[in-house]
């Protein structure tokens, strides 16, 4: 059965991509309907996979040669991510019916969204390193295509290409790691690597481990590769919700969780992972505080929350990272789609132009506040429980500086979340708009996701059982035991106090203006992206000037060209006669 469901979970969205494209842009109603049908069908078959999890290879297609076997495995860890991709994917597609109404080139939009959903499911379900990289790159391709969906907007084009280039650069780390593994084990099987990692030479394992970390950091927008995600916000909002909040950016966290058992023993690796997580969480939270673009605030908060997940892995807890991933996928998709409803209604993303929208959009305000509460870590929403788990694991198994950093991060999160909610929905209107509340196609996903935000933490027991079958050393724990552990832990109180402090700080912001002035330098640095953008620009400039300089050597004069041939002959002679390059 697993084989059938895997095929359907990947194949249905991909088939849908083809069908929607063939249907043609002159039939938008059919395109909307077909996209929803295929996405929901993919989501259902993803859910069906939950019943057939197993660590055994479910599909094996021998390709031979340098390509090995294409394998698919439906274990708990993979199925979980596939479910997130396909279920949130179908909600995003349903939302798109309203959001994208009247847009041109719908075929291209839906084709890439469906292609993405299938590729994300494939990434999660494959057992082959080659296919892992294959799907990894397909998701990058679709992300690029969708960020720059509005190709006439230079910002959208630049954002798409930037996302593609940075994730591809990081992807080289995954490529090199996968090739090293194959060269030494003669197999692309992930399970074979996890089993045989101890037999690899230590230096080799370290190279693989850090290569994977680079790839994961680039994909999951961790420092210093995080700069692409805020610029990716030029994408249509359902795409931001699906790809740049709920699923693709989780691929890096998934990669780290999947390979953690093999890299745990590499000296310095877990510390490096934790450090990346803490630094990213704090930097991004600072940037979220000063940003005024609603989607960018959400993007920075995504980067920051991904930092929590990465930190959890650095502390050795795949469960905490994946549980926070689960909560975050739900509440961040909710926040993005809620933001999408706002942006769709008023036509701007600038929070300084908003204010007082709650009166006109009561439903959106309710669901958005629920999502924001989860982001800030307010009980009993799902974000509270998973963040507590991350913090407790950090305190128990991680470095102390990491725990303290993450606590501060929790306070900052509460602060910027309160600011965002206030600027959008409360206070006096700062612009003149004729607004309307979310229409049904938008309301359905919003309500479902809000319900999820309220309840998914109750699934902790089954969730831990699902992962226990896939992650070595993980044990099933009942929801009740988990809840009572969190509630009785004094650290929980500390975390709640910090969150309350963050909320209080926003409420008392006028009295804190002295401190704010003192932090202005920090704020300015945050607004400038802490210098990481400057690095990007520097690299781009170097490349461009190298190209310009080289262009001058191409004179197009026949004499020089012939001289080039003669020169090459001399050099070749010297190399061949001189005993090689080394």
């Amino acid at each position: 059965m697993a084989a059938t469901f895997i095929t359907l979970t990947i194949g249905l969205p991909w088939l849908g991509a083809l069908v929607v494209w063939v249907a043609g842009d002159q039939r938008p109603r059919a395109q909307h309907a077909l996209a929803v049908v295929f996405a929901v069908a993919g989501g259902l078959s993803g859910l069906a996979l939950l019943t057939t999890t197993s660590s055994a290879v479910a599909i094996r297609l021998p390709v031979g040669g340098a390509f090995g076997d294409f394998t698919f495995v439906a274990d708990g860890l993979g199925v979980f991510l596939a479910v997130v991709a396909t279920v949130i994917g179908s909600l995003a597609v349903i939302f798109s019916v309203e959001y994208m109404k009247g847009e041109a080139q719908l075929g291209r939009y839906y084709a890439f969204v469906l292609l993405f959903i299938g590729a994300m499911a494939g990434l999660a379900l494959t057992g082959s390193l080659l296919l892992l990289f294959f799907f990894w790159e397909v998701t990058a391709l679709t992300s690029y295509a969708l960020i720059s969906f509005h190709n006439d907007d230079p910002k959208a084009v630049a954002g798409g290409i930037k996302a593609l280039i940075i994730t591809q650069l990081g992807g080289v780390g995954l490529l090199a790691g996968a090739l090293l593994i194959y060269a030494h084990l003669g197999s692309y099987e992930i399970s074979a690597f996890l089993a045989g990692a101890d037999a690899l030479p230590a230096d080799l394992r370290a190279i693989i481990a850090f290569g994977f970390l680079i790839a994961a950091a680039a994909k999951s927008a961790q420092a210093p590769f995080h700069t692409w995600l805020p610029d990716a916000m030029e994408a249509p909002t359902p795409v931001s919700a699906l790809i740049h909040a709920a699923t693709m950016v989780n691929a890096g966290v998934y990669l780290l969780a999947r390979f953690f058992p093999a890299f745990e023993a590499v000296p310095g690796w877990t510390t490096a992972v934790a450090l990346v997580g803490v630094v990213t969480a704090l930097l991004a939270a600072c940037m979220a505080i000063v940003a005024n673009d609603l989607k960018r605030v959400l993007a920075y908060s995504t980067v920051s929350q991904l930092g929590y997940m990465v930190f959890a892995i650095g502390c050795g807890s795949a469960l905490a990272s994946q549980f926070h991933l689960f909560s975050h996928a739900v509440f961040k998709a909710l926040l993005f789609l809620g933001a999408g409803a706002v942006i769709h209604a008023i036509g701007t993303r600038d929070m300084q132009q908003m204010g007082g929208l709650g009166k006109h959009m009561p439903l959106v305000r309710v669901v958005f506040v629920i999502g924001a509460g989860a982001l800030a870590g307010i009980p009993p929403l799902n974000g509270f429980w998973s963040k507590e788990l991350v913090l407790e694991e950090g305190l128990a198994h991680g470095p102390l500086w990491g725990y303290i950093g993450m606590l501060i991060g929790a306070g900052l999160t509460a602060f910027y979340t309160a600011r965002m909610v206030w600027l959008v929905f409360y206070g006096e209107p700062r612009g003149h708009y004729h607004t309307h509340d979310a229409r049904p196609a938008m309301a359905v996903p919003l309500v479902l996701l809000a319900a999820g935000t309220l309840t998914t933490w109750l699934l902790f027991g089954p969730f831990s059982a699902l992962l226990a079958g896939a992650v070595p050393g993980l044990h099933e724990e009942s929801t009740l035991a988990f809840v009572s552990k969190v509630v009785t832990d004094p650290a929980t109180l500390l975390a709640l106090a910090v969150v309350a402090l963050g909320l209080l700080a926003w409420q008392q912001r006028s009295r804190l203006s002295g401190i704010a002035a003192g932090l202005r330098a920090l704020g300015q640095a945050a607004a400038q992206g802490f210098g990481f953008e400057a690095v990007n620009r520097f690299v781009a400039r170097i490349t461009q000037s190298a190209a310009t300089a080289l262009q001058r050597t191409q004179t197009g004069e026949l004499n020089w060209n012939a001289a080039g041939i003669a020169g090459a002959l001399i050099i070749v002679l010297i190399i061949l006669a001189g005993g090689g390059i080394r």
């Binding site: 084009v157 798409g160 461009q544 060209n561």
Partner: protein, 501 residues
């Protein structure tokens, strides 16, 4: 006549060439157009037979007097590429070249070039290798400088002619040096003699010969810095010919290079040294090709420069194979020849189809610039999609064939267990990322809503142009999903290459 089917592969196109010319002169150009396509379609039959025979009985030979032809895996691969791409180009040119002065010459020269390339793949001694190679060059000169009224086209033709001639002279000197040192011309005999002469004075002659032939053939294979003719020739030629030049001719030059130099290497570290040399060229080709393509505003010129970087990938595969004796890397190089032929052929044909509808059909010859492509997808969805698939495949994105062929090269590089090879693979991967910086904006431009003036004025795209684009696009995707489909071509080809040493 009981000739082996592989001989028909050479004979049919070569013999049909004058017939097509005469038919075109006597019965009108339409006759030449369709007869040329028919010829290549008919050649499919002996191709299938020859492939079957090769799979069943191994390499076949044919001897006529002193001339010996040998049809092995590498010959099959080159034949597949030349005939397959040639058929697509012929169909494509049906509308593209319609009404050009000397249309019948175009088809005659194209057929001759295809037949000669197949022959080049079968050459089994140095002298014949050179003859086929020169014949290929002669056919291609005419095609590069086909637009004889355009100065740019003529300039490209002259550069191509002069630099190729310089290369030919070097090859000739190299052959003389080999003959002087060994008294042999047959590739097998040279290999035997080279083994024996490893310690003698004749080794100096062989070394000089290796250098001369590397550089001489390297001109046609566009090794940097011997490449300077390529950007002009590939961008000024009629688009179908651009596809042939980038997709087949430079690959044929590379095969000639490898075939000619491999027997000289013998045992010992000569092979490793030659491998290092190829790796050096690989690095130069990749980085220079990409950086130079980065600044191009004309689509065909950009594609021409990108061919340099793709020769670099092939050299990486072959260099690692020679350097460390990894058959997997050689197979990757061979696969990339095929995949580059397919993708770059598609890219040039798709760009050509747009050039045709936007300019040629309106009686203009202006270069197709990237900004001309703005909004092309709205009017020409299939051509835009094909060009998008081709360039993203060239950049190595899945699920397109470029991903798989690069992967195979990279696997070979890492399996070598050598730091230099592994670092070069990473360098190659970074180069693929770099190439996205010029491919991606091209794709973005095509999917804009605002159309360029050129697109607004563009004519309808004829069906004979769309068909090759669709066929090749499907192949690019299918092979990207399931690379085992061409295992039967690339496997024997790499074995033949390794065995040549």
């Amino acid at each position: 006549m009981a000739l082996h089917p592989f001989l028909w592969l050479i004979l049919i196109p070569v013999l049909a060439s004058p017939v097509v010319y005469l038919a075109g002169r006597l019965a009108g150009a339409a006759m030449a157009r369709w007869l040329a396509f028919l010829t290549l379609a008919v050649t499919g039959a002996p191709f299938a037979l020859a492939a079957q025979d090769l799979a069943a009985n191994g390499a076949a030979t044919f001897t006529l007097g002193l001339v010996k032809l040998k049809f092995d895996g590498l010959s099959l691969l080159l034949a597949a590429l030349a005939l397959g791409l040639g058929a697509c180009v012929t169909l494509f040119s049906n509308a593209y070249m319609r009404g050009e002065a000397g249309e019948e010459k175009y088809y005659a020269a194209l057929l001759a070039m295809i037949g000669v390339i197949v022959g080049l793949g079968c050459a089994n001694d140095l002298f014949n290798l050179w003859i086929w190679f020169e014949a290929m060059a002669v056919a291609s000169y005419m095609l590069v400088a086909f637009y004889r009224d355009q100065p740019a086209s003529l300039e490209a033709g002259v550069k191509y002619l002069v630099q190729s001639a310089v290369g030919s002279v070097l090859v000739m000197l190299g052959i003389a040096a080999v003959f002087g040192a060994t008294g042999q011309l047959s590739l097998q005999s040279i290999a035997v003699a080279a083994q024996a002469s490893a310690t003698q004075a004749s080794a100096v002659g062989l070394l000089a010969a290796g250098a001369l032939m590397t550089v001489g053939f390297g001109v046609k294979a566009a090794l940097v810095p011997l490449h300077t003719w390529l950007p002009d020739a590939h961008s000024q030629a009629p688009s179908g010919i651009s596809a042939m030049l980038s997709g087949v001719v430079i690959e044929a030059g590379l095969i000639a290079l490898l075939r000619a130099v491999a027997p000289l290497l013998g045992e010992g570290d000569a092979g490793a040294r030659f491998g290092q040399l190829l790796l050096l060229f690989a690095a130069l080709n990749m980085i220079l090709g990409n950086l130079l393509a980065l600044k191009q505003t004309q689509v065909k010129r950009m594609l021409a420069f990108s061919s340099l970087s793709h020769v670099g990938y092939m050299l990486l595969g072959f260099g690692v194979a020679a350097y460390t004796g990894q058959a997997a890397a050689a197979q990757g190089g061979v696969f990339h020849m095929l995949s580059h032929g397919l993708m770059k052929g598609l890219a040039f044909l798709a760009a050509g189809a747009l050039l045709y509808t936007l300019y040629v059909a309106n009686g203009a010859h202006g270069p197709l610039t990237v900004s001309d492509l703005n909004g092309a997808a709205r009017r020409y969805p299939l051509a835009a999609l094909a060009l998008g698939i081709a360039v993203l495949g060239l950049a190595g994105l899945p699920p397109l064939v470029g991903f798989m062929s690069k992967w195979q090269i990279f696997v070979g590089g890492f399996q070598a267990g050598d730091t230099l090879a592994a670092l070069l693979v990473i360098f190659a991967a970074l180069n693929s990322v770099l190439s996205l910086t010029y491919y991606a904006p091209l794709v973005n431009a095509m999917y804009r809503r605002q159309t360029s003036d050129a697109v607004r004025r563009g004519r309808a795209m004829p069906l004979t142009m769309v068909i090759p684009l669709v066929v090749m696009s499907i192949l690019v995707v299918a092979l990207g999903m399931w690379p085992a489909l061409v295992e039967g071509l690339t496997g024997p080809a790499s074995l033949a290459l390794v065995a040549g040493k």
